[in-house]
Amino acid sequence: MRVLVGDDTAVQTRAEQSRIRTTRQPQCTVEVVSDSGEGAQKCGQTFGAVSAKMGNGVWTVEIIPAEIQPPPRSPAGASGNRIRIGEGVVTNWGDRTNVAIAFNEQVLLARHRLDAIEEDAILLVENMWATHKDEDIRAEWAAAMDELGQANYRIIEVPMEEECLTIVENARKGKNMFALGILCWIFDRDMEITREQIAHAFRKKDPEITERNHELLELGYSWADSHLDVRIDVTPGLSPENTLVMNGNQAIAYGAVAAGMDLAAMYPITPATSVSHQLGEMFYKFGGVVHQAEDEIAAVGVALGASYSGKVAFTITSGPGLALKTEFLGLSVMSEIPLVLVNVQRGGPSTGLPTKVEQSDLLAALFGQPGDAPHVVMAPATIEECFHSMITARRIAETFRTLVMVLTDANLATGVQPFPRPTLDPAWQGSLPDMSPVPEGKAPYDWDEETGLSRRFIPGTPGGMHTLTGLAHDENSKVAYASAINQKSSAMRSRKMAVLQSTLRPPVVHGPESGDLLIVGWGSTKGAIEEAVDRAREEGLSASSLHLRFLSPLEPGLKGIFGRFKKVMTVEINYSDDPDMPYITDENRRRGQLAWLLRAQTLVDVDCWTRVLGEPLQPGAIHDVIRANVSKGGAA
């Protein structure tokens, strides 16, 4: 069906309001898409923030074009935001889009071709292209509208350009706020909160810009009011009190400060860099340093040098940077200098998918350092956990004199979600390292035979002088010439992981603690997996899930938990061979990275389902996997 509005003949008036139909939905997914640089992201982010402030659950995902400056009006250039809002907590980006607003038909076509749009979706599209003076553009418009017309969408043409030109000279700069006004009308957003949010977003610019944007917002709202006939009610059901809304990279940055870390060394890399943007501003107030090093190797070297000389420092990177830092990471382990490394995972190998999500660095993070280099690997599952993981990571690094890697991903990095505001505790910042004089006879690696723990002597400590070395060394940090020393020091470094594991609680199963199928996940997929499990359980399928935060050491009790399920499988965003592909056998099948690890550690025949589509997993897709696997198990 196609509804043409925007021309005089189809204008509705407020008198006809009775014709406006409001549908109540428990959750709804909205997309704002444009060419890069037209502000769709700001529109989407603002819509998400306003919804969160009103008490809706929110999860936003950025739609990022693969190119820096893609040609205008090209499907490859689709840029913007997907915002899923709900009555209650929203833990993932959902399945398909219900409402999309697009600044040209080509970017909309791109989303359609990616199967990102729900079949009965409402699509609002700028219609200036229909009558464009360029014949080619008119032809493109017609072809695209034909293709979109094949589907069962409700397409609404919007004269964005024409309307915006009544307020601004360059409509390209104003359409996003006009679009926001339309969305605000459809979803009945609180306009006062929206105006505040816009003022905040443009706080660093000329106040006139805020004023202009407010006018555009109102214009969009009133245009919708007089032209549209459908409103969607996603009733805010959460108390927005004491809630923060931010993305995962911001949460990492604030978590680092709350953890008392004040030196971050980094080299720009997508999608990790925005952590340092955040820190660059914040540290100016807190008295820390973000050192932008000459390369990834220098970045970790500076962090390690800083850690060595005092409080734990950290470095931030993504896959290719992790590879470059490898040698220093081994040194951190060997010399037992605490260090925190954040790896915001993206698609790989090599340059891979720089802006897109993947969970393919797990094995590299665990085993990427030549030699035996036991260290801690953690993976926050939510944006809230991104914040708290930094506090835990710093504390573990310091206590265990070890390297702690925190693996997030592009989904967490750029996703925005509300979470309970943490009550900050000064104890999270840790204390300054012990610099009291070293008692006679104490050695720089006075390993406790039982735990492998020892006190760290940092420069400035009287009596603690020694030369730290990456060579195999004894208790006194002397280069080891006796073979037994390397055996012992390796055991001491390894022991610390077991000691840490002994302090961890067994993971909590989502759903019943036994049954037909257990899905195991890690990192940003938690929300989608649990939503899928819940849907399956509503259908009567016997499925539960488990989400791991510690990958090294693994959380305790896994073998016992796995034993209570007929089948265990991981769901991950990394590559694995599908078992029915040519040449693939049970013996040569390359499995998901967590599956690989769990099989090795538990001897349980853990299966996996993984995808590398450069996007977060959809709960619907996981739901299908659960259906297929539970019925295979002959249950339900």
Binding site: L244, F286, V289, I297, A298, G301, Y308, S309, G310, G460
Partner: protein
């Protein structure tokens, strides 16, 4: 910046006097006749002369023969990775400006595998002494060509002789923006070596010192002519650089007055490899030092929480 540990130090023997053996660590295991011994002695003498507290002094090195250096000191030492001494030292000094930081690198370390760090450490101009012990060869791994190996010099990796003209570390360093101290000295002239290291230590900023040195096993002959004929060496002297110690005046008669402020002249001297030039080529203390530029006042844990809460307010719903 991040923590001012100097204020936490327990004052132990504030007026204790340090002697040479207070700085002597393990017995050096370099080959007899290795130039590294001479540099080690000069460094230990410097620490005595400056009365640096061993616990407040850090020697950072990379990998190679010369990088064993910290083990033979009784200060804090960091024997890290090949080519990566400078980032580590930068991290130490950024976090702890109160420490005295010395870096010991070989030629492979500094101008080959660590070349990027050398360029940028020069530009950061963090206050430290960076010694490049240049024996023109890879010694520890048994005679492979290094960037400073003279053209035509035979090695295990280039048995027909080094294919390329040797890299000129002085000329290159002087080409880097914000370079603040560039000097050259030689291990076989201990008095000059000491005076140069002292000038480097007293310079506030990144002090790059190339120490010409022979490897008794692989490049014994490399500076033989200059060792035998002191007249082949021009001594660059100036009150703002190093003056020729009295003991050397009789031997090194070719003294060239060179004002280390004169960058153009320094570059000219560095580029002309027809003669060996020892002394301070360039020195300018007015260049910004990174650790000072980046220094920000400390906040207490409570202060940080207050500021953090203000920050988080921006994200409050």
């Amino acid at each position: 910046m991040s923590l001012s540990c100097s204020s936490l130090l327990t004052p132990v023997d504030e007026d204790r006097e340090f002697r040479l053996d207070d700085y002597e660590g393990a017995r050096a295991r370099w080959c007899p006749g290795c130039g590294d011994h001479s540099v080690l002695t000069a460094a230990q003498r410097l620490l005595v002369d400056e009365q640096l507290k061993p616990e407040e002094t850090v020697f950072v090195s990379g990998i190679g023969c010369s990088s064993r250096f910290p083990h033979y000191m009784k200060t804090y030492g960091f024997h890290g990775l090949h080519g990566r001494a400078l980032p580590v030292a930068t991290g130490v000094k950024l976090n702890r400006p109160d420490l005295h930081v010395f870096v010991v690198m070989g030629d492979g370390d500094c101008v080959s595998i660590g070349a990027g760090h050398w360029v940028h450490a020069t530009r950061y101009n963090v206050d430290m002494v960076a010694m490049m012990l240049d024996n023109n060869i890879y010694g520890l791994t048994k005679m492979q060509t290094s960037p400073t190996t003279p053209q035509g010099y035979k090695s295990n990796t280039q048995p027909q002789g080094s294919w390329l003209p040797a890299l000129n570390p002085l000329e290159a360093t002087l080409g880097i923006t914000n370079a603040s101290f560039v000097a050259q000295t030689a291990e076989w002239i201990p008095a000059h070596l000491f005076a140069t290291l002292q000038a480097a230590y007293r310079h506030r900023g990144f002090a790059f010192v190339r120490v010409l040195q022979r490897c008794p096993v692989f490049t014994e002959d490399i500076y033989l002519d200059a060792v035998r004929n002191p007249e082949m060496i021009d001594m660059l002297t100036h009150p703002d650089g190093v003056e020729l110690p009295e003991s050397l005046r009789q031997i090194y008669t070719s003294e060239v007055r060179h004002d280390p402020k004169n960058l153009a002249a320094a570059r000219e001297i560095a580029a002309d490899t027809s003669r060996l030039r020892l002394g301070v080529l360039y020195r300018d203390e007015s260049n910004p030092r990174y650790e000072e530029t980046r220094h920000l006042p400390l906040h207490t844990a409570e202060d940080k929480i207050r500021i953090l809460n203000e920050e988080l307010d921006q994200y409050a719903v």
